[in-house]
Symmetry: C2
Subunit: 368 residues, 2 copies
């Protein structure tokens, strides 16, 4: 077993578990990505996106890049949410400018019946990257592992690619729920094993991305996405190497189901920008931490506006005297068209303003 | 002033206004459309989509087509939500398979400052179609007029086309809210005038489609979409020719804001399939009627499954002894890949089951 350097900044982990922190921690979904010129340089060196993602050296390099630029409070493994179905033999590849595709999507009963939980060996490149990143982080900040949710993986596995309407998988869901449940059952087992292996390899928190849960009808969401995330969460090891390993679940477009999502046993719930944080906090109470939820498009505005919107999110969540448990993030992945200067301003404002919230300067002159 | 035949089926209008009805009325968003072979035939005859939409004879023909097939409780004007910005001179056209485009989108201050509320004359083809459809309906069912919401029109006007992330308009919204408000102010005036002219021409109810309100952050939605829909609703004539003209507002992805949407003065609120109808009804109480919300993808399943899901929606809303005010619809426009037989089964089940809900057969043997 690898021995890692002690953690110097545990703000992120503490906030997920609703413990007091000196400032609100911040990281960004897709923080290692195309908006950074150094990422684009590594990507050019590596070749395709999959060449980059499957090479632990490159994955480590790009994971650490945003931490050199910004005082972020967490690192997140550079990988793709679709590594698991790729390991199932579906043939993941990326069409430039169009996103992920599977060469062999699941289209009929025969396809579904031959689907198996993959051998973890085939995902070894991921676990190697986790260990290497954790080592090279030298304890600066915690490392987040992640996976797509069983439903979100299934969306790509059945549609064969991203979709706007999800006609193919919804047709299966409504016409052949037995096949749908079979896929989701296999995915839930695979995702739980995959995340546990990431934890064994060094991930200090894990996040489940339910990117397409919000496409489901009320009722179907609970049955075909939430129930399987609950299965995954129940099977995760929540303590490793003497430390708690918090779990975050994030259903994009799931704002209406916050209370139900908060009830599946995760430590924290990710929120997109459509959710009012004050209301969310009121609904979930002390049950879970909350992560989010600045609209990534705000980073296209000027610095003063960005700082004002950051303060609005922090004020919506409320001063920490009301409790703790907020991790600042965007409500979705950062756009490739974002200026890194805007990210710097955002991170700076989160840290500064959240410290002010914790130690308000009482100015009696101004109060009068 | 044209004199129209008396209305024979007012179920739809009554339900919008929360009056008792003998069955739950039903219509479908995009009910005149590509899933019908007779629509495709008219379209082929007409030429482009705009050739079809701007010709009152063709618009009348396709509006009436679904009523010949199914016993629907309302007709909706065949038109496009983007006629208003087209009349503003932005140059609407349709790229086959890709949806609407504007030749001259609003990209800078100069573009925005030269924007004007269009002369209603330029939309005369719409009002002519309304009058002709209402005449040819001969009072069978009411005719719905409609428009895009000020925000949804602005999305297309600024982006120049549909979008997944709305970066261009969101950049304007956050960086130049003054320009954004100017566009929305003009749109609100134009939409109100446009809908009032449809009412004058014969529309018996009107609906505002806020297709992209759900892309906005909480806070921004209220400021940049809801406030302008409220302005439109406030300016509409709610009575015409001796009859009440109910107003429906529909924000796709607006499930979290139902209570606020219900508070802007409309008679009814449209809901997409992510919303739980029982919960929605609990939240809005007696304030408004509700319209929706079957997932259009359910129409890809078999007949038994379709009928079961229709009953689920009707049961979620609740038996009419609990009150009234439900118009059955899909949660979004019907897919072009839907079988008309599935629509027939859906409409049949709505009518039959909702009648059963109103006159339950009390079977004492089964109860014991």
């Amino acid at each position: 077993m690898t021995s890692f350097a002690p953690l110097q900044n545990d703000t992120f982990l503490r906030a997920l578990m609703r413990q007091p922190t000196a400032h609100t921690p911040v990281w960004l979904m897709r923080q290692a990505g195309r908006y950074l010129s150094e990422y684009r340089a590594t990507r050019a060196k590596a070749g395709s996106f999959m060449d980059l993602a499957t090479n632990p050296d490159y994955a480590t390099e790009v994971t650490l890049q945003p931490l050199e630029r910004f005082p972020l409070d967490a690192a997140i493994l550079f990988s793709d949410i679709l590594t698991v179905p790729d390991a199932m033999g579906l043939g993941l590849h990326f069409v430039e400018g169009e996103g992920p595709r599977f060469a062999r999507p699941l289209r009929d009963e025969k396809d579904v019946l031959s689907l198996r939980v993959p051998e973890l060996d085939s995902l070894d490149y991921v676990f190697k990257a986790v260990t290497q990143i954790r080592t090279e982080l030298k304890g600066r900040v915690p490392l987040i592992g992640f996976s797509g949710s069983p439903w979100t993986l299934a969306c790509y596995m059945v549609e064969g690619q991203g979709s706007r309407e999800f006609h193919t998988i919804k047709k299966m869901l409504y016409a052949r729920p037995d096949l749908m449940h079979r896929i989701l059952d296999i995915n839930a087992t695979a995702v739980a094993q995959y995340l546990n292996a990431q934890i064994e390899a060094g991930a200090q928190a894990v996040m489940i991305f339910d990117s397409w849960g919000g496409a489901l009808a009320d009722g179907a969401f609970q049955q075909f996405s939430l129930a399987y995330m609950q299965q995954v969460v129940a099977r995760l090891q929540r303590n490793h190497d003497g430390a708690a390993v918090p779990v975050v679940v994030f259903t994009k477009g799931g704002g209406q189901w916050i209370e139900q999502i908060a009830g599946i046993g995760a430590d924290a719930v990710g929120l997109d920008w459509t959710v009012n944080l004050a209301r969310a906090r009121e609904l979930v109470g002390a049950k879970v931490g909350l992560q989010g939820n600045l609209d990534p498009a705000i980073l296209f505005a000027g610095e003063a506006q960005i700082r004002a919107e950051v303060r609005k999110v922090l004020n919506d969540f409320g001063a920490p005297s009301d409790g703790s448990g907020h991790v600042f993030n965007l409500g979705h992945g950062i756009s490739q068209f974002t200026s890194p200067d805007s990210v710097a301003a955002m991170v700076d404002e989160v840290h500064n303003y959240s410290r002010q919230q914790r130690s308000p300067i009482v100015n009696n002159f101004e109060r009068n």
